[in-house]
């Protein structure tokens, strides 16, 4: 006897992510989920981003790793609330981890929640964290064909950030080719090239973030007034 089930395998995560999404909406929080291979520069991007923010801006950071609180310590220097999620071997963040750490941290909106996922281009793409946007980072020391090798994340990400562009003179990396490959997977994807070290292209990233925060928060603000 065949019994129809028709249920998502990750339905429990999806349910929790739905609750998070509702919480973000209610509290006017913009949540973005940064995903990349290990070593593509997620933490460096966040350091430079936090350094550019005015003191007192409502911002919180959750950073995931298999072990150590090294990233949280690096990011805590900027005076914004930061919390390390040590997954203990799990290769991605899931909605339950984010929910628990966000509650323990006591971050209330309106504001910006930056989530740095575990360094991995595969598994994080399957786990919805209720974010408004997934952002995929690719550094110029990797291959231009990474979008083709890992289509799942490039398909789901709203923005691709090419990092470490200050190293371009020293490596055989063709940014146009990398972007062309990404557009084969996801023609509408936005694209920013930057260096967290030199600051080149950084304004574009900060403007992108501000524009998305305005867009996410505007409808709620209009309803509240």
């Amino acid at each position: 006897m065949r019994e129809s089930v028709e249920k998502k395998v990750l339905s429990e995560n999806d349910r929790l992510a739905g609750e998070l999404r509702q919480r973000y909406r209610d509290q006017n929080i913009l949540c973005v989920n940064l995903i990349s291979s290990p070593g593509s520069g997620k933490t460096a991007l966040l350091e430079k981003t936090l350094a550019s923010f005015k003191t007192g801006r409502p911002v919180a950071v959750l950073t995931g790793d298999l072990q150590t609180d090294n990233d949280a310590r690096r990011l805590a220097k900027f005076g914004f609330p930061v919390r390390q999620i040590v997954t203990g071997g799990t290769c991605h963040l899931d909605a339950r981890m984010v929910d628990r750490h966000l509650s323990e941290m006591g971050f209330q909106g309106p504001g910006l929640l930056l989530v740095e996922n575990v360094g991995n281009l595969v598994c994080p793409s399957s786990y919805d964290l209720g974010e408004a946007a997934k952002i995929v980072l690719l550094s110029v020391t990797e291959g231009e064909d990474k979008p083709l090798k890992y289509p799942g994340i490039f398909h789901r990400a709203s923005l691709m950030i090419l990092t470490k562009t200050d190293l371009l003179p020293h490596v055989d990396f063709n940014p146009e080719l990398a972007f062309e490959n990404a557009r084969k997977i996801h023609p509408d994807m936005e694209y920013i090239a930057l260096s967290s070290r030199s600051g080149e292209g950084f304004d574009q990233w900060l403007n992108w973030l501000d524009a998305l925060q305005q867009k996410v928060q505007q409808p709620a603000a209009a309803t509240n007034s």
Partner: protein, 120 residues
């Protein structure tokens, strides 16, 4: 390598369904997995076997239907399987399309065998 998590979610669902059908033996579970779901067949089989070994679900079979990545063209409405990681429409070459398949990670069905009742 999140196949362990995927396999364990599938088995949790099987266990929940099993409780709804006391006395029935679950022969197999059918899942649909899309090409964009980042699931590796061998790793999933391995995880599934490892998690069911020496349990009451040891004889449970995992039946996977692999689904291709499909897009629908927003210009000419053509529906097509994506080839060579390029979403360009094969009919009109438009770059404007929407995803209509390939992200599936669903439990579709259970195959149950009703056990004859010992004490009617």
């Amino acid at each position: 390598m999140h196949e362990i998590g995927i396999a364990s979610s599938i088995l949790e669902c099987v266990a929940a369904e099993k409780r709804r059908h006391p006395g029935a033996r679950v022969q197999s579970v059918g899942v649909r997995i899309g090409a964009l779901s980042n699931v590796d067949k061998d790793a999933l089989d391995f995880a599934f076997e490892a998690l069911t070994r020496d349990t009451d679900l040891e004889s449970l079979k995992l039946e996977v239907e692999w689904r291709p990545w499909r897009q629908k063209c927003l210009s000419c409405s053509e529906e097509y399987d994506v080839q060579n990681m390029d979403v360009t429409c094969p009919k009109c070459a438009s770059n404007s399309s929407t995803c209509i398949g390939g992200t599936e990670l669903d439990i579709a069905y259970l195959e149950l065998e009703e056990q004859p009742c010992a004490n009617p």
